[in-house]
Amino acid sequence: MAKSLLIISRQAPWAGPGAREALDIALAGGAFDLPIGMLFLDDGVFQLAPGQQPQSLEQKDLSANLQALPMFGVEELFASQHCLDQRGIRQLTLPAVCVGDAEISALIDRYEQVITL
């Protein structure tokens, strides 16, 4: 039985390679058919905000990679309701399940390993 891994992505999308490199861990795990979950927390929820135009910063489109998550078998996607509310984000570009703080605690319990980036 493969060990499950939860990746908690806390980085805003355009603050450097952090968000993309966290996502790459998830995609690589998915490519190996590992049970991977991804939780967007703190500024990480900005990755899911609609209408972003990274071209204006001469950056590649992170959302294309995010959309690839389900194709790579990473279907357990979560976003912190508290962090979304705090930032006024109502619409998400990914089918992530919005979870409250207590649910996040249970979520971390459910996975065998966790990486918070």
Binding site: R10, D42, A106, I108, D109, Y111, E112, Q113, T116
Partner: protein, 99 residues
């Protein structure tokens, strides 16, 4: 399946510790290292918050970081060395470092 949360950023300039305390489970542990030990700064509001945390939550701080910064672990936190850090990471089911 309790988690050891490891923090290393100053709680006065960074939101990691407050996020961690928001989602922490009842049997989880917190290990403060690096600038995160400033959370134990005497008479700070944070120190008082940490002291009010339920007893079931283990509170630890890396001794070398306390000593370097002249911070006392206080009554609530246990000062630990590296062998004890290793032991804690065995005792908890997983380690969640807030990088």
């Amino acid at each position: 399946m309790a988690t050891l949360h490891v923090l290393s950023h100053s709680p006065f300039t960074d939101s990691r510790l407050s996020s961690c305390l928001r989602i922490i489970g009842p049997d989880d542990g917190v290990l403060l290292c690096g600038d995160a030990v400033y959370a134990l700064q005497q008479d700070s509001a944070l120190q008082q918050t940490l002291e009010r945390m339920p007893d079931s939550i283990g509170m630890y701080a890396l001794q070398e970081d306390l000593q370097a910064r002249n911070i006392d672990a206080g009554k609530r936190a246990n000062a630990i060395d590296y062998p004890e850090f290793v032991e804690l990471s065995c005792r908890f089911a997983k380690v969640n470092s807030w990088l």
